[in-house]
Symmetry: C2
Subunit: 342 residues, 2 copies
């Protein structure tokens, strides 16, 4: 662009700013969180962002330190009745069982291949790890990405009959966007597979692969038939990114303590403690699933039945209240749950 | 800022652009790499950047894929006679030996505590790992950062009598800056300690901690006397970021294959192979230390003596030529070596 054209552009920009100024009533600003109802949760977010981005406020945080971390399953998208990644692995087990008959008699594969939906929904994180090790290793990184991508294009959630990547929470998408617009770097910090989440995180959450921290297996370095390097997924666990592993994973991958963290289960406890443990303004929030009509209700908080191990316990609810974490009630705080409801 | 002030600012900006346009001769552009002599190396960088940032060129690379990785020791700063980090660890051994008498009779600590400079300079990477495990574990992450920072403020390189952080290569600083100005994300990918390099990478290279990938030990999660979470450095090795480990580390931390990579030793071989193995334009460069007068000369390439294990071998030199990597001759290609020589 030459100087005359650049100058002409800038003149037009000046005009636009004037016109915009006259078109909007003085002081009017669009609501950055339109899917959030007014209340304690929305206020907590708005005042945190206002204070940390105001250079004259004692809680000001310089842009490079504005790190915000988000759990995924149950915080950014639906985790019931089973994790999407588990659903993917179950499909893989069925494919692999054709050439590995021992799956039919060995747990947890036997359960996976059965029709017992209730038993499947009770598979533990340890079972998932065994399934991952058996079903995802030995593939090249590119093969894995292509397989997951294909699966995401066709698989549907059993309740809404929609792709899993539709089942993201609209209020959380707005929160991610609002934080980024204010100079925060948003990370996903998930107990789920790092490589799995990276396949769709850019498209779904606008979060690039280098800002996805998850449970990660090692890769081995070798050469293909064409002599070119190939990274192959290996069974060895490199990072177990859950509970204390989330704080370790953040130190390892980011090297800074977050100033804001968002979770929904006991797996996020240490990430929230670690975030709140730093000096200055800190925001820690927990999504509570108390909306059976629009999504699900689980966990013992507020007398809800504990339908799933390792989730929002009464103890976690008490810790949140004692340590100044904000509990987001899906039922009370969210105007819409999913993007298609707007 | 209100609309009137913003408009006034923009009008002034328009004026500045006009004045600037008249002050510079038409088409004049400052040399982005003033410390590089004209030649094959400088041309390789300039044409790579020109092609990958030109939307009409078949080698165009979209901004989010512009990942450039740099080895540190010997590529961005001096690694002779011993790695700066090893020098730091040797200081730590001397401090710890006061309360750990067994160091005086056990290798590699015995050598470290001796006056034998030659034996010290031959300590291997495995020795360094043992020393790191013994000297750096048990400290909190904050303690470690403060200790390294203090050491950097006082320690001096034996030849130039300057802080280690002065011993960075001016041409490489210009290269980092030039790539960033063209939308590349620059990463350090070092066999050295990730936490160690992060202490000064932002200040010295303008590279934030989350873009430093290095050999990393685990941290344990616990609570201090005040009940707040503490991360303590542990002996367990999490990522051995050298040779094949560099490609693994990049996949783990970035999740994208670099389009440009810079190294200086056999420890960088796989990173460069992995980078060149992708489709489209790729830039792989090796710094060759052939300038005894201004820095050091080592490695068997071009008949130089192989003074150090694990460095620039004849085999690596041959691979570079065979696979289209560009070898940077410090003597021929660099106008200045250090920032203070400008």
């Amino acid at each position: 662009m030459n100087h005359v054209r650049l100058a002409s552009c800038l003149v037009r920009l000046v005009l636009c700013v004037f016109l915009l100024g006259h078109a909007l009533p003085a002081g009017a600003q669009a609501d950055p969180l339109p899917s959030w109802n007014d209340g304690r949760s929305k206020d907590a977010v708005l005042s945190f962002v206002k204070e940390t981005t105001d250079q004259t406020h004692p809680n000001f945080v310089p842009p490079e330190a504005r790190v915000a971390t988000f759990d995924q399953d149950g915080t950014l998208w639906v985790e019931h009745p089973i994790y999407a990644q588990l659903s993917y692995c179950l499909t893989r087990v069925a494919v692999l069982a054709q050439t590995r008959p021992e799956f039919k008699t060995t747990e947890p594969f036997k359960t996976v291949l059965s029709d017992d939906a209730r038993a499947k929904s009770k598979l533990s994180r340890q079972d998932l790890e065994k399934i991952i090790a058996a079903t995802l290793t030995g593939m090249s990184v590119e093969q894995f990405n292509a397989e997951v991508s294909d699966w995401l294009d066709t698989a549907k959630d059993p309740r809404w009959r929609r792709p899993y990547t539709d089942l993201v929470y609209q209020p959380m998408l707005e929160l991610l966007q609002y934080l980024r617009a204010n100079g925060f770097k948003t990370y996903i910090v998930t107990g789920g597979g790092q490589d799995f989440v990276r396949v769709y995180a850019a498209r779904v959450y606008d979060i690039p692969p280098e800002q996805v921290i998850g449970t990660a297996g090692d890769v081995t370095y070798g050469y293909g038939k064409d002599g070119k390097p190939v990274l192959t997924k290996a069974a060895k666990l490199l990072l177990d990114n859950d509970e204390a592993g989330k704080a370790q994973g953040i130190h390892f991958m980011v090297g800074r303590r977050p100033v804001a963290a968002f979770g929904n289960s006991v797996g996020d406890r240490q990430m929230l403690e670690y975030t709140k443990g730093g000096a200055g303004a800190r925001l820690a929030m927990l999504v509570m699933h108390d909306d059976h009509a629009r999504e699900y209700a689980y966990g013992p908080a507020q007398g809800l039945p504990d339908t799933k191990a390792g989730t929002f316990t009464q103890e976690l609810y008490d810790q949140a209240n004692a340590q100044g974490w904000t509990v987001i009630s899906m039922k009370r705080d969210w105007k819409h749950v999913f993007p298609w409801e707007k």
